[in-house]
Symmetry: C2
Amino acid sequence: MNIADQIYSAADSANQDRAQAIRDNLRDAIVDRRLAPGTKLSEGEVGTLFDVSRTVARAALQMLSFEGLVRTERNRGAFVANPSPEEARQVFASRRLIEPGIAIAACGRVTAADIAAFRAQLDEEGRFIAERGPTARRSEIKASGDFHLLLASVAGNAILQRFMEELVARSSLVIALYGRSGVSACGHSEHTEIVGALESSDFELASRLMLHHIDHIEADLDLRVRAGPALREALNF
Amino acid sequence: MNIADQIYSAADSANQDRAQAIRDNLRDAIVDRRLAPGTKLSEGEVGTLFDVSRTVARAALQMLSFEGLVRTERNRGAFVANPSPEEARQVFASRRLIEPGIAIAACGRVTAADIAAFRAQLDEEGRFIAERGPTARRSEIKASGDFHLLLASVAGNAILQRFMEELVARSSLVIALYGRSGVSACGHSEHTEIVGALESSDFELASRLMLHHIDHIEADLDLRVRAGPALREALNF
DNA sequence: TGCACAAAAATCGTATGCAATCTTTTTTGA
DNA sequence: TCAAAAAAGATTGCATACGATTTTTGTGCA
């Protein structure tokens, strides 16, 4: 019952499927860190919370499990994922491989309208960085991820876009677990530089900046096995 | 009922979940082209076929839908996906972006045992190429895809490996729909060259060969809008 | 008090039922 | 004869029910 108030907040995307809407809600909650890694998501609870039967709740959890945001154990239930350091490395290795290419693709397709959208996105980022408090922090993480998703959408490859959605979501889990300084303030300026490269259609530069940007994010992590996810789990949190 | 004999063939992987086992079975059937694009997969039919309730069948179909192998329409059901030319291009664009990197990663981690596995894989490919008949053709396509999956597993990144599983599966659908010569015979020799590069730990070469290999596969496609998937669909096939 | 074991509660896995929606066939009217 | 409307049939969306498994609670015994 205590996750109720943590969840209901994101606007319900008018999706076709109810299960999808619930998945989106839960994903936002996980990405925003309103749901901590390890939190149990029981079918019944999720169901009553969103006022659907377990059938639908289960489908939503299954989707999240595919995205790697939720880990399900047979006969035990679903839990917000608790990525290991190794998993964290793989997430970032994947991003290093994919995102520079996405930046290049975006370079070749970016329109004036896209640039405007980027500027708006950067403004929002800046606003949250200026603010104080945990809510702003959450919004900042979210906005930072949204930048990368916006880029992926501009690149115009639906498949890669979906991969990126997964990678960005998992990244925010990783940052929640292993992040040192929270969010690198330099992230914002790097995003700005990337948009600049896009604007001047500098493939090469955009790709290089993106690679460095990902390196910086990962460098901010402390991937030594802290207190062990196992313990964290044993403590039921 | 007429898809029954087309499906029951793959060995049932002893998975924890029954839904997963069914998904694997269906995926193999789709990749092997025993199930043609557009084929309807009704929950009831799948259920009775595998002797489970619609609940479980539905879960399996949902998984396939996430992988892009099945398209589900609300209140209408699930169908083997019918990728558009644009989708096909995106599949290959994704592979061009990811697989050279995977080849590089594999280069850095490949062991003697891996090389042996590759050799075995290549042998199998060669055997199917030599054989005649539609069954051998299917096995050839499957084996060709398995080469890429083996490489992905050697690369040691579980996330990228899953992406590749999806991309390879979708590729075989695309080839089924738009392939010209069926399977490029040159594919086998290119695979052999790539293994050679791996063996001599030539990052650069492995990456380049992989890129060319993907280009060759894509070059064999005829992506002009043939008779339109819409028509194909309208004809209920 | 501490431990082992059994009963109870909670939760999951799956089958089944009913209403809603879509498809096909039949009927009706021009 | 053909087109449109209506009915029948099939299929999905979802809720609920029940057995199986896990977790928790409670009790007796050392």
